[in-house]
Subunit: 152 residues, 2 copies
DNA sequence: TCGAATTAGTGGCATATGCCACTTTCGGCG
DNA sequence: CGCCGAAAGTGGCATATGCCACTAATTCGA
């Protein structure tokens, strides 16, 4: 029963499953703003940084650099963020919100608060904080597969 | 300052962030099999069901039905799963593993075990079980947004 | 100072997910 | 019966993510 009933033992599967569920909830809440949960998080991350470089954002969100580039496109296209090269290192591309983007973020934060409050009312703020702490702990683990082929 | 420190307060963002991290870890472990973590979970879910209908799988995985359809395609294309109409209700499409799919799943389970073991060795089996329990609890919540403002 | 190694991004390709608009079947109901 | 509304999937469209191969800009060592 433990394994036979749907692989409830796989930490990864369980995590993704819940992520889909919660993702839809937050997405619904943000819908009026036209932003998805991911975009909202990305805009926020940009807003709290000091014209962060793409690499810095990717690292903070534990996201692949190229994935970040892709995800950023619609936001640039819609005029919420803009990029510019770093003064000292032309390889570096920095990102910042446009006034329009800041306004959109402010708007979205109001919507986000509703979902956040609702969620914490259901599960309890304590419990939520504990869950986030555990998740952050997991995200910080230096996971490494046992060297598959030490060959040579 | 509660929000200015990187939005660590957003349950959804934290969850996705960790999902990306853990997802890559499991994906790396499964790489030799050519399967992604999601496909692995899907194959497993199919294997434990009795020729489950698409709707049943989608519900079990808390996944959108159409999303499931999309995700299933590469697996059908590669000959790991096959579908057939339900005898009594032609609207229903049932899914099952092919012998090749079962073999691939068996192969993947060995790889998965390594990642699973490794992860639990790092965070502790107890802790992992507790995390999964909490995640399942969250996934089971009947989240609902406070009736949208009829505005005006 | 020049070329190898490294770093930061980009583009292409493939899967992951969702929503919406349809189409096909069913299950009632008058 | 025959029509309507519900149920189960499909296809199209758009974003989310990753990996790989490549390019451009820097850094470093001989």
């Amino acid at each position: 029963m433990s394994e036979a009933d749907g692989f409830s033992r796989c930490n990864n599967a369980t995590l993704r499953r819940t992520a889909r569920r919660l993702g839809r909830f937050y997405d619904d809440a943000l819908a009026p703003s036209g932003l998805k949960g991911t975009q909202f998080g990305l805009l926020f991350q940009i807003s709290v940084g000091a014209d962060p470089a793409m690499g810095a954002i990717a690292e903070a969100l534990i996201m692949d650099l190229s994935a970040l580039g892709h995800t950023l496109k619609p936001l640039v296209r819609d005029g919420y963020v803009e990029t510019f090269p770093d003064k000292d290192d032309r390889r570096v591309k920095r990102v910042r919100l446009t006034p329009s983007g800041q306004a959109k973020l402010d708007e979205a934060i109001k919507l986000w608060s509703v979902a956040q409050r609702q969620f914490e009312a259901m599960i309890g703020a304590e419990q939520a904080a504990k869950l986030r702490a555990t998740l952050d702990e997991v995200a910080a683990l230096k996971l490494e597969l046992p060297a598959a082929t030490p060959s040579s």
